[in-house]
Structure formats: structure tokens, C-alpha cells
């Protein structure tokens, strides 16, 4: 049978192409084109993508806010003048701060960074988590073992290791201390040696001030800090060394008499 030209499968459209153009496309303008919605599957895929994007960006914003909060939220602990303050750190270890000394850390970031900032003098003891680190302006101390004392007065850092091991790091050098060793920054370098009298280092934590061949000026500064006073003296004490001990329960006048008597000098409390 001949399938001739008369026979066709072409439909007769309700609307001419021109009508379709006029009804649906003629009014499109360059700038509103993106907002025109159709029910085609292609466009739906795009809008689903748009939602995923929105959710992702919302999550990103929340994450940024949370990180910022976690970073900015720091806990500060400062010992009152004339007192030793004991605090428990998040890892359960103990820190004792001497008069006016301050530590700070970020509780929300503790699980990521076990960093404690110190200014002043503190004695750290107990079992520390791995990665526990004490930051000071003059160097850092990575804690490898347990107990140690750290002082950061007068732009110096002095660390004494009582038990276990700690690593002291400054810009120029670093040293690992084991029990019985101490180190101090001096002209940018770390001067390391052994100490014989642990009481002279940690005595302050239980109210005993013990000094072994210490510069008298340093001793007076310790008294000033621990009693919250200012002390003046007429004599030149720069070259004098002091060895001796006293307890915190004595009055500051009494203490100054004990210190000054052997040298024959007197001190005046100005504040």
C-alpha cells in the first residue's frame, strides 16, 4: 500500500508558535528572567540545589559564630592580693596562684587545646592531660609530667620542675627539665641548673617564704606582691643577696625587720 503525501501524523496545534511566543515569552525581560518560575523538572532541580546551598550557608554561619564564641570566651582566674588561690583546671589538675597572679584558658576549646595562659607565679600539680601547655609572655612550658612552678615576673620566666618532666620553650631556645631542675631566662637565653631546696620554690603555696641566695631586690618585690604594699629603702640593695625564711602569717612590718636586720637597713612602707 502506498503511504502517500496526503497521509500525515502531524497534529493540528491549538496555538501557533507565534501565539505561544506572545503569551509566554514576549514579555520576558533580561533582568527578571531569573525569577520566572515554571513547573519544569529542570527548574525544580535548580531550586532544590538552592535550598541545599541555603542550608549549607546557614550551617557555615552557625559554625563561625560558635567558633568565634568558643575562641573569645575565656575564663580568667586571679588570686587576690596577699592570698594564694587554688583552682582546678578542666583536666582535674590543680593550680595554685600566688598573690595577684592570673591564669586564663578557653573552656569551650579545652578539648582541642589544653593551653593555660599565665602571668605571675603559679604552681601546677596533679596529673595533666597530654598536650597540656602553659603560655607566658616570655616563653611556653609543655607539660610532659606533673608538678612544676612557673614565675613570670619582670619579663623573666623561671620554671622549676618538682616532679616529672616539663619542656620550656622561648623564642631562642628550649630545654627539658626533670625533677630537681630549674631554668630561667637571662638575656634571651635559658640558664638551667639544679635546685637543692624545693621549699624555696614551692613554699609560697602553703604560706612559707624561703629564699636561698636570692637578690635582695627580688625578695622585696616578693614581699610587695604578697602583702600588696609598696616598700621603699634608703640603702642601695642592688648587690645584696639574701638567704632566709619567714611565714605569711607574720605582719609585713615584722617580715621587713627580719629581712633588714642582718644588713642593718630599714624599710618604709609607702602604701
Amino acid at each position: 500500500m502506498k503511504l502517500d503525501d496526503k497521509i500525515t501524523a502531524k497534529p493540528h496545534w491549538d496555538k501557533s508558535a507565534e501565539d505561544v511566543w506572545n503569551e509566554r515569552f514576549a514579555a520576558l525581560t533580561e533582568d527578571d528572567g531569573n525569577e520566572v518560575q515554571t513547573d519544569s523538572a529542570e527548574v525544580r532541580t535548580i531550586s532544590i540545589l538552592g535550598w541545599t546551598k541555603r542550608i549549607l550557608s546557614a550551617a557555615a554561619v552557625i559554625l563561625v559564630i560558635f567558633s568565634a564564641t568558643a575562641y573569645l570566651y575565656t575564663k580568667n582566674i586571679q588570686a587576690p592580693t596577699g592570698q594564694v588561690l587554688s583552682a582546678i583546671l578542666p583536666d582535674g589538675s590543680e593550680v595554685r596562684m600566688s598573690s595577684t597572679s592570673e591564669i586564663s584558658y578557653r573552656p569551650l576549646l579545652w578539648m582541642f587545646a589544653h593551653d593555660v595562659k599565665l602571668s605571675g607565679e603559679a604552681y601546677f600539680s596533679g596529673h595533666h592531660v597530654k598536650g597540656f601547655s602553659v603560655k607566658t609572655n616570655n616563653g611556653n612550658i609543655d607539660v610532659l609530667g606533673t608538678s612544676f612552678n612557673a614565675r613570670t615576673f619582670d619579663n623573666r620566666l623561671e620554671v622549676a620542675c618538682i616532679d616529672g618532666r616539663v619542656k620550656v620553650i622561648t623564642h631562642q631556645s628550649s630545654v627539658v627539665l626533670t625533677a630537681g631542675m630549674q631554668t630561667a631566662t637571662q638575656d634571651g637565653q635559658l640558664k638551667t641548673g639544679h635546685f637543692t631546696d624545693a621549699e624555696s620554690i614551692t613554699g609560697w603555696t602553703h604560706g612559707v617564704f624561703s629564699f636561698y641566695d636570692r637578690s635582695l631586690a627580688d625578695v622585696i618585690k616578693d614581699v610587695e606582691r604578697n602583702y600588696g604594699v609598696k616598700i621603699e629603702t634608703s640603702a642601695n640593695i642592688d648587690t645584696m643577696r639574701y638567704t632566709g625564711r619567714f611565714t605569711r602569717d607574720k605582719s609585713v612590718e615584722n617580715v621587713l625587720t627580719i629581712i633588714g636586720q642582718p644588713y642593718g637597713i630599714t624599710f618604709k612602707i609607702t602604701k
Binding site: K2, L3, W13, T29, E42
Partner: protein, 165 residues
């Protein structure tokens, strides 16, 4: 990137053919017209990222995708029996001629229904719109050889229905 003028030119050149292409696949003229409009709307919305050089094949690709979605929603077999018609007046035909035409049209519809979609669209693009094999190949992003293959397979289906061109 295409602008409104490019878009109008594209519409004028391909709209008619595109809605026929979809119709060849699904044998539904209203749905085909709607889908063809959706194709152009998609192209308009994505106009900033469209490369003018292969936009022709893109039209047909989007259309084919919409047809897949269409079949996902309603699983009906394309039926051309209501669409096959005679051009021109039937009055001049004798009763015999009329009967013969009816028979031919019925066989033509049956042949179209039994063809796979790929064969049918190529065959109808060629027969109804007189597009060359090269033109069909470009629109469907096929080789000319592939178009020839589909054509000869389609002609074999017609032959089985004892239809000759």
C-alpha cells in the same frame, strides 16, 4: 550567553520542530506543547551559561530529559491512531479509495506505535518535516550513520506492514 534577540531567533527557528519532536515521542500534542515551552523557559533561565554554538542540540537534550520525566509520571504507551489523518478534502474520493486510505492510515498508526522511540522520531523528522539526515544528526547529537541506521530500521517496520513510501 544569549540575549533576548538570540532567544527570539532560536524560538522562531526551533519551536515548531521541537514540539513536534516531543510529540513524536509521546503522541500527546497538548503535553508536547507544554513541554516544548518548558524547554525554552529553561533555556531562557540558563541563558547566561549557554554557549550559542551548541544550543540546538541542547534544546533537544532538555526535551528528551523532560520526556523521561513525563514517562516516569505516567506510564502510557504512545498511540498515534487518533493523530494519523488525511490532508485535503475527502469528498473527491470514491468509496473504495476512501476505504483503502482508512486501511493505510490504520497500518501507518500501527507501524508508528510499534517503532522504538528513537527510530520513530528520526523517521518522522525526515518524513513529516523533510529534515535531512545531517540536520537530524546535528539536532539529536548523533552521527549521520546512526540516523541512517534508525531510518532503515523504521522503513523495515513499514515494510512489514506492507506500506511503501
Amino acid at each position: 550567553m544569549i540575549d533576548k534577540n538570540d532567544f527570539k531567533a532560536l524560538f522562531d527557528e526551533y519551536y515548531e520542530s521541537l514540539r513536534l519532536y516531543i510529540y513524536y515521542k509521546i503522541a500527546e500534542k497538548d503535553a508536547a506543547d507544554d513541554m516544548a515551552q518548558d524547554v525554552f523557559m529553561t533555556v531562557w533561565e540558563k541563558r547566561k551559561g549557554i554557549d550559542q554554538n551548541n544550543v540546538k542540540a541542547l534544546l533537544y537534550k532538555i526535551a528528551a530529559g523532560l520526556v523521561v520525566d513525563y514517562y516516569r509520571k505516567c506510564d502510557i504507551k504512545a498511540d498515534f491512531s487518533q493523530w494519523v489523518k488525511m490532508n485535503g478534502s475527502e469528498d473527491t474520493l470514491s468509496t473504495n479509495e476512501q476505504a483503502e486510505y482508512n486501511e493505510t492510515m490504520q497500518r501507518y498508526a500501527e507501524a508508528l506505535n510499534s517503532m522504538p522511540e528513537g527510530q520513530r522520531e528520526v523517521f518522522l523528522m525526515n518524513r513529516e518535516e523533510e529534515l535531512t539526515y545531517r540536520e537530524i544528526a546535528e539536532r539529536l547529537d548523533l552521527s549521520v550513520k546512526a540516523v541512517e541506521k534508525r531510518m532503515s530500521a523504521a522503513l523495515k517496520v513499514l515494510n512489514d506492514k506492507k506500506l511503501t513510501l
